[in-house]
């Protein structure tokens, strides 16, 4: 068995007195898409955020257990800047900076010390192409990114995340605020990116999970009830609670 790209061992997470994650064990394999599903408040976004330490600044948040990236503990043995470079994140709503499309994409590389214009130009073009939004943006790179449509902004967010050459992409309901066409584009993009990246996606859309993910974890009340191949989860789940959730009997 190859070493998982990301591994969570025996994780508990508390927000003050409230336990949001209970005894989580999970292995995420390289160059696969792993989907987190479950009703609102079940802990799936909390776990996703923990994978690149987005909970560090949340007051009263206490995490125990071990989180590793390529076997290295991300809470103890890795600088947060390195972690954030290697593990990118895309949120539910596009959150571009109020600056040009070009500067949004170049922001990360500049932070990591890339100054040459030719090099930045190359990164901007490559990542916008990778995110399938180059044709729509190539003539307006210097214009405000906020002038683009929601679906375009979300793809620019993905390009921005890709600009620092991450290895893992975390996506928290990336299409829930998008129209159906933009949703399909993001899904196709995720499937394409899988060739080079490890992707973890939180989604409330069951069909989306079946369309794009290789593995699916079903969360309930802060626990992982079942984790298996996506096909198994949606066709023949082992746990009755999983069946009840995916067939819409609760949640």
């Amino acid at each position: 068995m190859t070493q998982p790209k990301l591994q969570v061992k025996n994780c508990d997470l508390f927000y003050g007195d409230f336990q949001a994650l209970k005894n989580i064990d999970l292995e995420i394999q390289e160059k696969e898409i792993t989907a987190f599903i479950g009703p609102s408040g079940c802990g799936k976004s909390t776990l996703l955020k923990s994978l690149n330490r987005m909970n560090d600044l949340v007051e009263g948040c206490k995490i125990t257990g071990e989180f590793t990236l390529d076997g290295v503990n991300i809470y103890k043995d890795m600088e947060i800047t390195e972690l954030r470079k290697r593990v990118g994140m895309v949120f539910q709503k596009p959150n571009l900076f109020p600056m040009s499309i070009y500067d949004n994409i170049a922001y990360g590389p500049r932070t990591h010390g890339i100054k040459k214009k030719a090099e930045l130009d190359e990164i901007v073009e490559t990542t916008l192409k990778q995110a399938c939004v180059w044709d729509e943006t190539k003539d307006r790179l210097k214009k405000s990114a906020l002038g683009m449509s929601g679906g375009q902004q979300q793809r620019i967010c993905i390009a921005r995340a890709l600009a620092v050459k991450p290895e893992v992409l975390l996506m928290d309901e990336p299409t829930s605020a998008l129209d159906p066409i933009s949703t399909i584009k993001i899904e196709e993009l995720a499937s394409e990116l899988k060739k080079n990246y490890t992707i973890v996606i939180v989604t409330h859309n069951m069909q989306q999970a079946t369309r794009i993910s290789d593995k699916t974890a079903f969360f309930l009340h802060g626990e992982i009830v079942e984790f298996d191949d996506t096909h198994t989860i949606f066709s023949n789940p082992k746990e009755h609670k999983t069946l009840e959730y995916i067939t819409g009997r609760f949640g």
């Binding site: 069951m206 069909q207 079946t210 096909h231 949606f234 066709s235 023949n236 789940p237 069946l243 995916i246 067939t247 819409g248 009997r249 609760f250 949640g251």
Partner: protein
């Protein structure tokens, strides 16, 4: 949480069972018209087939609406709806074959020829039993009974071969009886095909319960 969906699944089930009952009824009608040489009933049987076609359309419409509006996942619900979609095709074909039997019967009655019913009575009984059991297996989610239907296909196939050989002998003995013998053979073949469709229905019942069709995982 899913009251509307369950309500529509219930409607689908009711309409499917209506169609299944019509399928059993048309087989019974075609057999009765044979046994009693009843031309009127044979004509009614042919007409009744049109009602089965309409029933198929209606069940099909409900299935497609369910798929469009609810996009059920493969576990349970999609399996159920897709197996219903497949089963109604076989039920509709059973209706066609019962009507074909009635049509042949009408032609023979018109020629005032008498049937040798012994040859096909056993096949008619076997086919009827298979259809009834396949439908019962669906109603009761009974995988074992569905498998019984699948296994009984060999028996009706054997009966057909036996009937065919007997008819060949009859033709050899008296060539003047050729047309009637061929009509009898065709009737026997229709009953054998009805048995095949019952097997298909049973296989979709197994799929609906297990997700496995003819020992293969479909998805």
């Amino acid at each position: 949480m899913r009251e509307n969906f369950d309500c529509k699944l219930g409607e689908l089930n009711r309409k499917l069972l209506d169609m299944a009952a019509m399928t059993e009824q048309i087989i019974a009608m075609s057999i009765k018209s044979l046994v009693e040489q009843d031309e009127v009933l044979a004509k009614q049987t042919v007409e009744f087939d049109l009602k089965i076609n309409e029933a198929e359309r209606e069940v099909e419409r409900i299935c497609l609406r369910l798929l469009l509006q609810y996009q059920p996942v493969f576990a349970e619900d999609l399996r159920k709806v897709s197996s219903v979609l497949k089963m109604i095709t076989d039920m509709e074909r059973i209706g066609d074959q019962a009507a074909d039997i009635a049509s042949l019967n009408r032609a023979l009655i018109a020629k005032k020829q008498k049937w040798e019913l012994d040859d096909i009575a056993e096949m008619a009984r076997a086919a009827t039993c298979m259809v009834t059991q396949a439908i019962d297996a669906y109603v009761n989610n009974d995988e074992e009974l569905a498998n019984t239907v699948i296994k009984s296909d060999d028996k009706i196939d054997e009966l057909f071969v036996k009937t065919k050989n007997k008819i060949i002998d009859e033709i050899a003995a008296d060539k003047a009886n050729g047309e009637k013998a061929i009509d009898t053979l065709m009737t026997a073949k229709y009953f054998e095909r009805i048995g095949d469709h019952a097997v298909n229905i049973a296989e979709w019942v197994v799929f609906s319960i297990t997700g496995i069709h003819k020992a293969e995982k479909i998805m």
